[in-house]
């Protein structure tokens, strides 16, 4: 796979305020509240890693940030605008400046890799086909998938699917890039390759990157700053060094991989998810 130098596109104007600012965010699924008042900011050009165990609410947080879930309370400000209070047209404009790489890739199975990458360009721009073709080549090049234009997603390996999905997320030259579990389900070598790709994109484009993961090694490698979520609240927010040095029990438990006492009953599980009763009954 080629690692050609990436021509720097115009870097987004650095910090005139945070890229994303989340204020007292609450999200409910039905009656059950998953996120209980989250506050944090992401500076422009920063790579933020959202860490957390299963059921910590990190996936819900990511889905809310990209507009797939509606908050039941609080605000999300993206580039100085309130995401929840936008008109549909404004929201669409903002979404075009964001790219999202899904856990399983979420490539359209009925389209070739090139068509997947070309889709947002064809739907949202007036570019002619030959220009689109060039952009698609460039994007596939950037993720190390040159020559795979005509492959169908089903013909790709897990790691290649993620790369193709990243190429699609990059298609519209996003200012903010989101990754859901970029290394989940990949072997360590392929996962390291994806981490390296994220680092490369970060250096080349200086875009804001938000990564949700539970892989500690990859989190410490790519993150400028980290948030540890637990039961829908933020228990730690700091640089990787600050987190490493933290004495907080939940942080230590997560970083040192100390197992939770086994849950035996359904109610314990539900309470653990929502944090209505502290689950650490030691």
């Amino acid at each position: 796979m080629s690692t050609k130098p990436i021509a720097p596109q115009q870097a987004p104007e650095p910090p005139s305020g945070p890229a994303i600012s989340v204020r007292n965010l609450r999200v409910k699924y039905g009656e059950r509240e998953i996120l209980h008042g989250i506050n944090f900011e992401i500076a422009a050009g920063e790579t933020l890693v959202i860490l957390g165990g299963s059921g910590s609410g990190k996936s819900t947080l990511l889905r809310t940030l990209v507009g797939l879930e509606l908050p039941s309370g609080g605000e999300i400000w993206v580039r100085g605008k309130n995401f929840a209070a936008m008109s549909d047209a404004e929201r669409d404009e903002l979404l075009k400046k964001m790219g999202m790489s899904f856990q399983g890739g979420a490539l359209f199975g009925s389209m070739s890799v090139a068509d997947n990458v070309a889709l947002p360009l064809r739907e949202h721009t007036a570019l002619d086909e030959s220009t689109i073709e060039i952009i698609v080549r460039l994007k596939l090049d950037q993720v190390g998938l040159s020559g795979f234009d005509n492959y169908m997603p089903a013909q790709l390996s897990g790691g290649m699917k993620k790369r193709a999905a990243i190429a699609r997320a990059l298609a519209m030259d996003p200012e903010i890039l989101f990754f859901d579990e970029p290394s989940a389900g990949l072997d360590p070598i392929i996962a390291a390759g994806i981490d390296e790709l994220i680092l490369k994109l970060k250096k080349a484009f200086r875009i804001t990157i938000v990564v949700v993961t539970h892989e500690l090694a990859s989190a410490f490698l790519i993150g400028d700053r980290m948030i540890l979520l637990d039961k829908g609240v933020i228990v730690a927010n700091g640089t990787p060094q600050e987190l490493q040095a933290s004495k907080q029990p939940r942080v230590r438990q997560f970083l040192d991989r100390i197992p939770e006492p086994e849950l035996s009953e359904e109610m314990d599980y539900l309470q653990m998810l929502t944090g209505e009763i502290p689950p650490l009954r030691r």
């Binding site: 990209v66 507009g67 979404l95 979420a106 490539l107 739907e123």
Partner: protein, 265 residues
């Protein structure tokens, strides 16, 4: 108490279901008829692709089934008519039942089996693979992108398929007429044309469009309501077929009654 509660719940669920269908149809109508004039084009390639899958590829099976249905109608009709020495009426019996009822209905059944189920499976699989979410994060509205081309294909292809089915049914009836009722092919076709009025054909075609709307909206709605996990796709496909057949029959009843009571006497 429990009985009234469950009746109430079933009513609410039923209304919500129909409301969901109407929302899909309404959103698609906007995407097809209004948004193209506001500069948001519908992808016609997708609609053509769908039209091929829904219409053209269904021709062989629709032809065969309606031909057989035509023959069956002739046989069943003749069984009764010959008692009165009215075997020559077989042509008009087949023509009227095909165009008014069985042409549209049998076409709908075939299209439910071929396309309604595949709409549900396609969208259901996309839901499970997060492809629907991916569309939304790319600012592509799933209704505009996925559903509207299907509606457009369906409202164009259902009347075409139904017209063809009517014709094949008449030919199927003709097979009996020519071999066992003393007709020539020319005589049978003339008797068919004499028996039909435009209203018979038009009411059948109106029904076929309504069936197309039902099949598309149910198929897509079942796809979108697919839960987590791939076994849910199978469940969605099954309910798409069952609910479509049921709703097509309901719509058929409503429109047949409407046409009956509004017919000139």
């Amino acid at each position: 108490m429990a009985l009234t509660e469950s009746i109430g719940e079933a009513t609410i669920n039923g209304l919500a279901y129909v409301g969901g269908l109407a929302r899909l149809a309404g959103g698609s109508a906007r995407a097809i008829f209004i948004e193209p004039f506001r500069g948001r084009k519908l992808n016609l390639n997708r609609a053509i692709h769908q039209a091929m899958a829904v219409g053209v590829e269904a021709l062989p099976i629709v032809s065969l089934i309606s031909f057989f249905i035509g023959t069956i109608l002739a046989l069943q009709g003749a069984y009764e008519l010959r008692k009165f020495g009215a075997l020559h009426l077989v042509a008009s019996a087949v023509a009227i039942s095909m165009t008014r009822e069985l042409g549209p209905l049998m076409t709908a059944v075939v299209v439910i089996g071929r396309s309604g189920s595949s709409f549900a499976a396609e969208i259901g699989t996309m839901k499970v693979n997060e492809e629907i979410d991916a569309l939304e994060t790319m600012a592509l509205e799933p209704v505009h992108f996925l559903v509207a081309p299907k509606f457009l294909a369906m409202i164009l292809m259902m009347p075409c398929l139904t017209t063809w089915a009517d014709f094949m049914g008449v030919l199927g009836g003709g097979l009996f007429g020519v071999t066992s009722a003393g007709f020539t092919w020319a005589g049978y076709l003339r008797a068919t044309i004499d028996a039909l009025i435009l209203r018979d054909i038009v009411t059948g075609l109106i029904k076929s469009v309504m069936f197309g709307l039902v099949i598309t909206s149910v198929g897509c709605q079942e796809g979108f309501s697919t839960g987590l996990g791939s076994e849910q796709v199978g469940r969605s496909t099954t309910s798409a077929v069952v609910n479509s057949i049921f709703l097509v029959v309901v719509v058929d009843l409503v429109f047949t009654a409407l046409f009956y009571f509004t017919a000139p006497r």
